[in-house]
């Protein structure tokens, strides 16, 4: 291999695939007449292409594709047309939102919102209903106070011995 082969051999694949620039083409073509090694490498690529491509071309040429379309039609009917969900998704085009770079911030915002909502919800759920005084009756023996809960599900009655003394809730 000649010294200039080192610079040209890296271009041989590109040259063979016709992907070189005009300058690269000139470089290779100036080199080839004097270099049997590079010519042989190109010939190997050509031989390989023939080995890979020829049987395929011959197979395509003689193929009649018997009943292929009919089988495709049957296959589609068997599997059914795209479902309602698939059609809806295709119309809405949510695919951009499923991309990782969008999904991660969206998920982070969702988690933050949930974390912010939890104390509020928890407080609301665990807070006791504020009772309202329905009636307060004073007498010589007992004072009675009746509370009606806000949700109408319960009534609390207190009995007081004196003006400030609580006996027991019932």
């Amino acid at each position: 291999m000649k010294r200039e082969c080192f610079s040209v051999s890296g271009l041989l694949n590109k040259y063979f695939d016709q992907e070189v620039t005009p300058e690269e083409r000139s470089l290779v073509e100036d080199h080839l007449p004097d270099c049997p090694v590079c010519r042989s490498a190109l010939q190997s690529m050509e031989d390989l292409r023939i080995l890979i491509k020829s049987p395929v071309e011959e197979a395509v040429e003689k193929e009649t594709f018997p009943w292929v379309w009919e089988k495709i039609e049957r296959g589609i009917q068997r599997e059914g047309r795209p479902g309602l969900w698939e059609s809806l998704m295709s119309r809405l085009d949510v695919t951009p939102f499923l991309k990782k770079k969008i999904m991660i911030p969206v998920a982070a915002v969702a988690v933050a919102l949930i974390l912010m909502m939890v104390p509020i919800l928890y407080e609301k759920i665990t807070s006791y209903p504020i009772p309202s005084v329905v009636e307060y009756v004073e007498s010589e023996t007992y004072n009675v106070m009746i509370y009606q809960l806000e949700n109408q599900k319960g009534t609390v009655i207190w009995l007081f011995n004196g003006p400030e003394e609580e006996v027991s809730p019932s």
Partner: protein, 187 residues
């Protein structure tokens, strides 16, 4: 993508089977070529053609026109073909389907020993191609069989041009080494 093709794709996305048939008429040979290039067996390649167009009909709503339609279709074909090769049982080199061998051009070459040579050669090529990684195999078939440019191969395989060049370089080198008796230098 020309206007007619865009219209066909749009109709197909709406579930129009006549549009799919037109796409099939336009592309089935190309799909078959890629499939045959990978599996090198007629029946398998025909099965792949069917599977690809059924898959296309089911998933064409995902095609947004950001890439060329044919590279989208070729990618689907290559993935389906490589899946098939994984499923296929390995057959011995000489038990290949007769149709998969070379077709000899004249009667003089149809002697049994010549037919055996060609069948054996085809089997060796298939074996050598099977030694490549799926990515190298895809790049080589897109280039050698379908004649795609580096840019088109990059689009169809979802990789960069540099990666495509590397896969072609090392893929060719490996297959040439495995088939050195049949390519220049081994003669």
């Amino acid at each position: 993508m020309n206007e007619n093709e865009a219209e066909l794709i749009f109709r197909c996305q709406k579930g129009d089977q006549d549009a799919l048939k037109e796409i099939f008429n336009q592309y089935h040979k190309k799909v078959y070529r890629i499939a045959y290039g990978v599996v090198r067996q007629r029946e398998e390649a025909l099965d792949i053609v069917q599977e690809v167009f059924i898959k296309l009909f089911r998933s064409i709503h995902q095609f947004r026109g950001k890439s060329k339609f044919y590279t989208y279709l070729y990618r689907m074909t290559m993935n389906t073909s490589i899946d098939h090769t994984r499923k296929m049982k390995k057959v011995s080199a000489l038990s290949m389907d007769e149709d998969a061998g070379f077709q000899l051009s004249d009667d003089a070459e149809r002697r049994p020993d010549r037919i055996l040579d060609h069948k054996e050669l085809e089997a060796r090529v298939q074996w050598a191609m099977d030694q490549l990684s799926p990515d190298q195999k895809a790049a080589l078939i897109f280039r050698e069989v379908e004649g795609l440019s580096y840019q088109e191969i990059a689009e169809a395989t979802g990789s960069s041009i540099g990666t495509v060049m590397s896969r072609l370089h090392y893929g060719r080198k490996k297959v040439q080494e495995l088939l050195k008796d049949y390519v220049e230098g081994g003669r």
